[in-house]
């Protein structure tokens, strides 16, 4: 490290430093992408995006006067995600994840 600094200093002695700069960065635009950090972003039960309201809630909201939807997402210990509404219907008859057949237990819930 010390050597390379020395080199720079030595080279920096002359005026030719400026001519070695071929490019000068004047402006840059950063572009970022994001996606939900879930293994599967479509609910495999109702085939609607988990971040949207499930098929049932969507159908019922058409008749609902107050538009507020409260259809949350649920993640299992197996990391598969579904609508809470969809999954709660299914676990009534079989307490397993329909995708991986593991015993279903909730890891977290939310939007």
């Amino acid at each position: 490290m010390a050597e390379s600094v020395q080199d720079n200093v030595e080279r920096g002695d002359g005026d030719n430093v400026k001519t070695e700069n071929f490019f000068t960065l004047k402006k840059w635009n950063a572009v970022a992408m994001w996606s939900w950090d879930v293994e599967c972003d479509t609910c495999a039960i109702c085939r609607v995006q988990v971040m949207d309201a499930c098929l049932r809630c969507q159908a019922e909201s058409k008749k609902d006067f107050y538009g507020k939807q409260d259809c949350v997402v649920v993640w299992g210990e197996c990391n598969h995600s579904f609508h809470y509404c969809c999954m709660s219907l299914w676990v009534k008859q079989n307490n397993r994840c329909p995708l991986c057949q593991q015993e279903w237990s909730i890891q977290r819930m939310g939007k």
Partner: protein, 182 residues
Amino acid sequence: MITLRGKLKKDNDVSNSKSRDTNKRVSIRDKLLVREVQEMEQTLPSTCQIVFDDPNRLHEFTLVIVPDEGYWVGGRFHFGIYVTEDYNMAPPQVKCQTKLWHPNINEDGDVCLSLLRQSSIDGLGWAPTRKLKDVVWGVNSLFTDLLNFDDPLNREAAELFLVDKESFRHKVKEYVTQYAKR
């Protein structure tokens, strides 16, 4: 399929505007079926054919299977498929309408296919992640890959196969000629 989708939409609009209370529930089954029927038809095995008696009733149709290999080749088998209102929490009901000699289909037309079992502890039974196309492929495979003599519904058929394969083949042919000729 566009017309069916349009029809469903129109029906919904009409009933919604009529009264919000009497039309208590938009059928989730019908919404799922609009997409699944289309997918099923696009991925239909070459040995299968789907017939809708009433194009407005997507939940009731006939699956016609004409096996191109195996014991039942030369036959034409009709299966009635009825998708109940609680689809896709419950599997479709499948009934064989053609009499045949098969270890996994009895002479009353009951079909033994793991996929169609409502509750099972293994991973093979029904799950809401399954679709109509899986049912079609499953039933179709009963004539080939999924043919199973170890867990028979028609015990007599399975036993005959174990004892004497040639008479099994003969009996299958006999049934085909009598009941399932194309």
